[in-house]
Symmetry: C3
Subunit: 343 residues, 3 copies
């Protein structure tokens, strides 16, 4: 594909400075980009890269200048970059063509139009695969599960029985959806397994990273709201509910029956106990441990998670804690009456 | 299946209040349950749900009352719930029938009676698969490994060569058992791999979650005791020994050669260093880091893990730490002789 | 294989004490070793095991003595142990013979000499598989990816399209290389996916544990330097660069665009934010959270990671923090003028 800078600027609702007729054929990072490529500058702080890049055009924040370069000035450079990337790289990478002869598809499966099913895929009886869905090699879809229209499931993913995946989802390799929740009752002999007979419902436009685990409900459903994005190696326990458009960064773990509101962000390696609620648009910093419910629009941090300002104050105190011990010792020395000093 | 409330009460050793002849056909959560379904109330604190549930019967703790409802009063509602779930949902969900024609089974494999082997399963030479074992699609069992009677292995699990899995185990999708331990010796060139030639022994009645990793011993065995339950995404390093009936919650990591006693509980995201021992029935709270051995029957928490009461006292102090700095400053001001104040 | 103690000592550049003609047929742990086996003692601290071992020979640190035992005294017992293990257990365990008939290999794939390709492997068009490479059952190699000479890929690994794996690498089961990075831009509707069109380059002699995830670059490459060793369940985000011979222990997570120098060690469960640098040979202790760049040859620990001596001082203070509160209260009581005491 070839586009002029002017055409791209129009798509981005941006203003061209320089040569609007320059031809663009691809996108590259600011240090790697060369002739015929467009790149982007996320913030003005990084402006030094403008001097040295060989890109034919650069998407920049409003108000950026760089003599001799062709710029597209936009309000939101990251969003503009996303749009340019989607323009030049629109499609799923090399989906399998049609249905591979080695795929094991039970007779009672309902296949949509234009599905792509790779080698060694297995689809259980009663499953429904939506139009244009793509199942890469080694994917296993259990009986009675439903995969929505246009959903892409990468290699070696396991979707257990009776699970529902919405439309236009992307599920990365090695992920397991619908495994049994971790539920036992103690009896005299040990831990008696509680059958896990619920399901998982993944709504539309959800992306789930690699080697993620999402357990089915004990009864009822574990639910992932529309537009949610989940990074690699995240654990979501039985009956958890993730509100729409929430973001879960890598290695997050959420315990059973906890509910996240809309637009919640959990940073990397956060852990959340079971049976609590995190309100809409609240944010929890990396490595925090959340042990109590959080109201909407709070920013929390720490183990246990506290309001971030409080955590930062404690944090600053910790650095000076050895010094505080000295100061207290000094005070005690000054104060002690001479006769008591021995002890 | 249909059972009367009275029949269920008998199984649970419980006392019926209300209509013992009501017919029950299934189990549901207290908010979702309707006509013909039984549900349960884990503790009296949640009694408000009793007013609104449409369930035909409710398992409740002794001493709970609710006018107009049919109750089964029991000593341990959670255990009773487990038993009712097992009554209504007794079986493995839709195991493959017989041996799928796409399974790749080496000639020297010994298959038990009534095994279920799914599509694209691979079983190496010398492996032994016990009676009634179930291998879902995509499972790989390496040469000379043994799978016990009645064990269920979900899709896309890898059991490496020479590993022993006991009877009546459940292994969830994506899990890897018998991968090489992380062992190297430094030489002039870099890290020289130490061959990992030991094995893994998983005893009977063990359940292992999804995307778990259990490394084989360098020499000798990594051992998972009978009745152990392991949640998703747990890491167990080479030569670790997990005592019977221990519980490892999601994302726990245990370093090489560490030994856990019987009935140990490690909560989510706990990390344990190598070469230590955690005594019988000790419990470690979520996100803790265990760097030293723990005697039996201790409850520990924190990074590093300390006795929980001590951790909680420190924790309470931390919240008041910024205030303590102010108080010490105040003391210093009060005490400072007027002439020294400048510094 | 049989070797005399003297022959082994020569290989290890060690000195024999005792019977150099004793025949050795295998290696075992010091508690398990018997007649015909050699074992090793990592440090003199463990010398008590020397009295009770039934091994025919023991590799020991210089200066160790044990009456009646045959010893090989060496400078570096761990390195010597590695070499003896490699002598007795030199090969990949039972690689598949040739190309299994169930493997799905696209026509345009280039296969090297003496490759081993297991059951249900899938290789996409344009891929190149090096000489003597071993692909265990269920491995998926995407289109246009390259696997180097002698590299071993264990069962159920996924290598996505366009990825490069060097020579003599080992990749353990369930691992995913080349999954999409976690990149979105916010628009009015939610999170707009930024296509992830870069790649992953794994250099030579790298070992990657089980169920690891390594995302491809957004643009450009995520790069794993030669000789790097990665433990199980590690997350490496898009555009991360890991310098040669670095060690990443289990459950580490590294965020996007961060760069590690040469010989860096991150202990278990460490988390690292994006866009920072960790200098050559720096070490970060278990469970730490790294939020800022670290210069070369620093040892860091804690959340947030601080120089380890500082972290240990703070740590020691924390244990005495409840006591400090008491001491300050005491000081306040002593100091308060009698009239003000009420408040």
């Amino acid at each position: 594909m070839k586009k002029t800078v002017a055409e791209i600027a129009q798509l981005l609702d941006g203003r061209v400075v320089g040569n609007g007729e320059a031809q663009i054929e691809g996108v590259a990072g600011i240090e790697d980009a060369g002739q015929g490529e467009i790149t982007f500058l996320e913030s003005k702080k990084l402006s030094s890269f403008l001097q040295t890049t060989a890109a034919s055009a650069i998407i920049v924040p409003q108000g950026t200048t760089s003599e001799g370069q062709t710029l597209i000035c936009v309000e939101q450079p990251r969003l503009a970059f996303a749009k340019v990337m989607r323009l030049f790289y629109p499609s799923v990478p090399q989906a399998p063509h049609g249905i591979h002869p080695t795929a094991a598809i039970e007779k009672e499966v309902q296949l949509g139009n234009d599905v792509s099913i790779g080698a060694h895929v297995s689809i259980g009886a009663g499953a429904v695969i939506g139009d244009r869905a793509v199942l890469f090699p080694g994917v296993v879809v259990g009986p009675d599960s439903r995969i929505g229209h246009g959903t892409v499931i990468h290699a070696n993913v396991t979707i257990r029985e009776g699970v529902t995946i919405g439309a236009d989802c992307i599920i990365h390799s090695g992920t397991v959806i619908g495994s049994d929740g971790f539920g036992y009752a103690q009896d005299d002999q040990g831990h008696l397994k509680i059958p896990q007979v619920g399901t998982v419902i993944v709504e539309d436009d959800v992306e789930i990273g690699a080697n993620v685990t999402i357990d089915r409900g004990t009864l009822g459903a574990t639910r992932i709201g529309h537009g949610v994005k989940i990074d690699n190696l995240v654990q979501i326990a039985h009956n958890v509910v993730i509100g729409p458009n929430s973001l879960l960064i890598s290695q997050v773990g959420i315990s059973g029956s906890t509910e996240l509101g809309e637009g919640v962000i959990l940073a990397g390696q956060v852990g959340v106990v079971g049976h609590i609620k995190i309100g809409d648009r609240s944010v929890v910093g990396a490595k925090s441990g959340v042990s109590k419910s959080i109201p909407s629009e709070n920013v929390m941090f720490g183990i246990p998670a506290r309001p971030i300002n409080k955590s930062k104050r404690i944090e600053a105190c910790l650095s000076r804690l050895p010094d505080l011990f000295k100061r207290v010792k000094e005070l005690e020395k000054d104060q002690a009456p001479p006769s008591k000093e021995g002890e």
